[in-house]
């Protein structure tokens, strides 16, 4: 079993109110030096079989037709190595 990650972000030219709200809050929290924040979605898909080119192509299609609305969003698909203990 492998994990494929689809990251979906608003296109750069599209307003991102959520990211902006986070960014505007940073100075109050004592953080500076961050010039921009964008917030998007991360999908973790657990794939049963082998993640070969065919599987990736299908997930790409899934992302394009369903997970993202390509009118306003971009996406990336990547296979994730499952490294134990990477999460905090």
């Amino acid at each position: 079993m492998a994990r494929v990650v689809v990251d979906v972000m608003l296109k750069p030219e599209i307003l991102d109110p959520q990211g902006q709200a986070v960014q505007r809050a940073l100075p109050r929290l004592g953080f500076d030096g961050i010039s921009d924040v964008r917030q998007g979605k991360r999908f973790e898909l657990e794939v049963d079989g082998p993640v070969d080119d065919a599987a990736l192509a299908r997930i790409h299609e899934l992302a394009e037709s369903f997970l993202a609305n390509t009118v306003i969003e971009n996406f990336t698909v990547k296979v994730e190595e499952l490294v134990a203990g990477a999460e905090k």
Partner: protein
Amino acid sequence: MTARIGVVTFPGSLDDRDTQRAIRLAGAEPVALWHKDKDLKQVDAVVLPGGFSYGDYLRAGAISRFSPVMETLIDQAKAGLPVLGICNGFQVLTEAHLLPGAMLGNDHLHFICRDQKLRVENATTAWSSDYEAGQEIHIPLKNMDGRYVADAHTLDMLEAEGRVVFRYVDFNPNGSLRDIAGITNAAGNVVGLMPHPEHAVEPLVGTGRTDGLPFFTSILKKLVAAS
């Protein structure tokens, strides 16, 4: 002398005026508090009202929790100041760790607005003493992020200590664990709940019920008795 009850306005608060009205109808004096002021104007109690503070961006209540007013409020709540968080206010209280657990999106993924039946499980807190334990009431509910979540240990502790104050009856509108609608801190002065008692204080508007008024008379009686 009547009690002075503060209502905080965060950017994006919606039910601040309604909460002030409810406080007035109960016979207390509402005092407007502003999120950028650390000064609580020496109020006797505070309500964090419903709404979408900061648009509920990031997480409901997550940005408001860092407001200047919250710095003072967190200290004073720990020192015993009565605080009621309604809906977004409840979310702010969990984000500020004045109440345990967290609020997540409704399990059905939709905003929900309905007249909700609740059972009063604890009628000893600062904000529920005018009810009777076991009493069933109807209070309007309207939210996107109303799913109360905590780990099993915390839930067991809340149950064991009688800190579940309100529970959903007949229908769980958001997937809250153990049907929890509202909880209190160990001292009983800080209460948070998702439904909106301030919208059930007049027979003519809203659902036409007045089941929410005792929230405000509970605190008024307590404060007047103490003064």
